[in-house]
Amino acid sequence: MKISNSVGSDGSHRLDPPALEEAGGEDASTDWPQPHLVIEPKAGWVALDIGEIWRFRDLLFTLAGRDLKLRYKQTALGVIWVIMQPLMGALIFAFVFGTVAKLPSGGVPYVVFSFAGLLGWNYFNGVLSKVGNCLVGNSHLISKVFFPRLVLPLSTIGSTLVDFAAAAGMMAVLMVFYRVAPSPLLLLFPLWMLLLTALALGVGLITAALAVSYRDIQYIVPVFTQFLLYASPVAYSVDAVPARVRWVYLLNPLTPPLEAMRSSLLGTTFPGTGSLAVAAAWSVGFLLVGLYSFKRMERSFADVI
């Protein structure tokens, strides 16, 4: 018999082999080998195990690839939809806000103007909604195998970035067609993307964690984002907002990065570094809260989902 049961089945008292000692220093004093992995209940703030996510990086990319493949399988036009969707949106906005309402667009053709807004917005919205659904949508994986749960939300960023790249290509085509020159601020474009990613990921992680217990979230988020679309300078510019309510816009952390994006592309009004700093603080704050709530709920995902 090779198995040794060192605890009486009555559980009244247990032998304490050195392996029981909690402190790592205890292990070193005995001849017990160093374990590869220790499984024990974790309390409070659980450190982000970046190393573990790195070990699962292949899975991260494969899941992102799966998302992309599945999204356009059995569609006749495939990837063209990634370009068509914002293009149609931009045309509708151009008609409603440009032609009918005659809002200012900083001298840029309204289609290009609204397309630039949708470029950032669609990326934000894509990350937010996909991160929010990633746990419930992959419940069969969560209840059957282990992998760092953060791989799921992170992989959605990858697939959304590919969509973004396709739409950005269309943006370039539009700019060439309407002869709009980019601003030198274009170099800072990745920074605005970073802000949007942090914000979308942060809010998405909070909703993902909540959606495990409360499926209501799945219905609340789309309504909320629809409101946000019109409360953010996507279809119009902040310049078109009356000055006395413009301060409200500072409360929306989406406003500065979206305006900065459009400014980098088309040379429209730059939101100013002050408001960008505030937006950055919001984004980092949401990201931290998101990561915290995700990690906190992570332990019980498999039991609840």
Partner: protein, 419 residues
């Protein structure tokens, strides 16, 4: 005894509690939860704690192939889920000395729209393999699955057999030092099952890895494992050699073979039930209690029931399971058109006559349960009794019984058809 340097896995004081909210306290939507909080701001929902595992400890040495045995609800799945890090323990420590891989089902993450090739990579990575590892094993996986012709076809076009073969092939090539396997043995057709068993044997014996098998199929465990752990009601009941543990598992029923089984304090009673089924007797045609029956003999089962509360209409059920834990048949009072009526709270005896058992040679377990049409389940005991079936030349030829014929005998007439 265990040697420290050769240890693969050590579990100490492992417990897992689930809290079960009572039906009327459950709030599936956010609004209901908020409403409840507003109405009763200081009352926490009354929750019952259920210990799926309680203070479980054991060590497994490197290269050991260990079976985990236990009835439904004994804590096998919970133990597996904690070991594979799907869920966290409530308390206790597990130390793993080596990479661990777990197969709780075949084909986790398989997507019907993706091709076989894509699914091999996806599934492999979900199981914890690196892309390079899969590259290296790709040919072996494809070869084992036998679906090379359909590698670039979406798996939704696969037959269910092909699907399962591919899924098992990926899983079988997981190269971790410690492997946890749950109920994946019985997949595919008979031919492929044999191949799976062969592969499992290779994995566990030739490749020198540490394997933890969880299965209801005791005969499969018996051929694969050297030792086993018997779990009962969330605790370790026995550890030891596979044969000892399996016979211990069967002796759960009772030790007396005379056909009389006192159930007032039965270890395998479903948790949460008060003993209301007090005794089970298996009787031969002459009315004598016995633990031995002939293959085509008559068996009468008597179940003594002492209801705690008034019952309206009892529903008594009997199930017979074979040695591998597979359910052979179930019969119940409500399976028949004849009313089975008894009202009140006094003790009564339910009597069931099986005129012809028609079972192959071997040992069978009898599980009993009693519910009330209105009050629901009253009591349930798995493996409450057991019987041994003796071969009485039931084929009426000199042909002997062989377990491969299956446990159920068939009443059949053979003849040459003449025009």
């Amino acid at each position: 005894m265990s040697s420290r340097t050769n240890i693969a896995l050590s579990v100490r004081g492992l417990s897992k509690a689930y809290s079960i909210a009572h039906e009327q306290e459950k709030h599936p939507t956010l609004a209901e939860t908020l409403l409840h909080r507003v109405r009763q701001p200081f009352r926490r929902a009354a929750k019952e704690t259920f210990w799926a595992l309680k203070d479980v400890s054991f060590d497994i040495q490197k290269g050991d192939v260990v079976g985990v045995i236990g009835r439904n609800g004994a804590g096998k799945s919970t133990l597996l889920k904690i070991l594979s890090r799907i869920t966290e323990p409530t308390s206790g420590v597990i130390k793993l000395y080596g990479r661990i891989g777990s197969l709780l089902e075949v084909g986790t993450g398989f997507h019907p729209e993706l091709t076989g090739r894509e699914n091999i990579y996806l599934n492999g990575q979900i199981l914890g393999m690196r892309r390079k590892e899969i590259d290296k094993q790709f040919d072996a996986i494809v070869d084992f699955s036998g679906v090379e012709k359909f590698l670039d076809t979406p798996v939704k076009r696969y037959s269910s057999g092909m699907y399962v073969r591919l899924a098992f092939a990926v899983a079988a090539h997981l190269q971790t030092e410690i492997l946890i396997i749950d109920e994946v043995l019985a997949v595919g057709d008979v031919e492929f099952q044999k191949k799976c068993m062969g592969k499992m044997k290779d994995v566990s014996t030739n490749e020198g890895r540490t394997v933890l098998f969880v299965s209801h199929n005791l005969s499969a465990l018996e051929s694969l494992c050297k030792s086993a752990i018997l779990l009962r009601a969330g605790t370790v009941d026995t550890t030891g050699g596979i044969h000892d543990v399996i016979s211990r598992y069967f002796s759960d029923a009772s030790d007396n073979a005379n056909g009389q089984f006192d159930l007032r304090s039965h270890p395998a009673r479903a948790r949460g039930y008060d003993p209301q089924i007090t005794e089970v007797r298996t009787l031969r045609s002459d009315g004598r209690a016995s633990g031995e029956f002939f293959a085509t003999g008559t068996m009468t089962i008597e179940i003594d029931i002492a209801p705690k509360n008034i019952i309206h209409e009892p529903r008594v059920a009997i199930a017979i399971e074979d040695q591998s834990g597979r359910r052979i048949m179930t019969t119940a009072t409500y399976f028949s058109a004849r009313p089975f009526h008894k009202e009140g709270a006094e003790q009564f005896t339910a009597r069931c006559v099986i005129p012809k058992l028609n079972l192959g040679e071997g040992r069978y377990l009898i599980s009993v349960s009693c519910s009330d049409k209105l009050a629901g389940m009253l009591d349930s005991v798995d493996g409450a009794a057991w019987i041994d079936i003796k071969w009485d030349n039931a084929y009426q030829s000199s042909e002997a019984y062989n377990p491969v014929y299956g446990p159920v005998l068939c009443n059949a007439d053979w003849s040459v058809k003449n025009d």
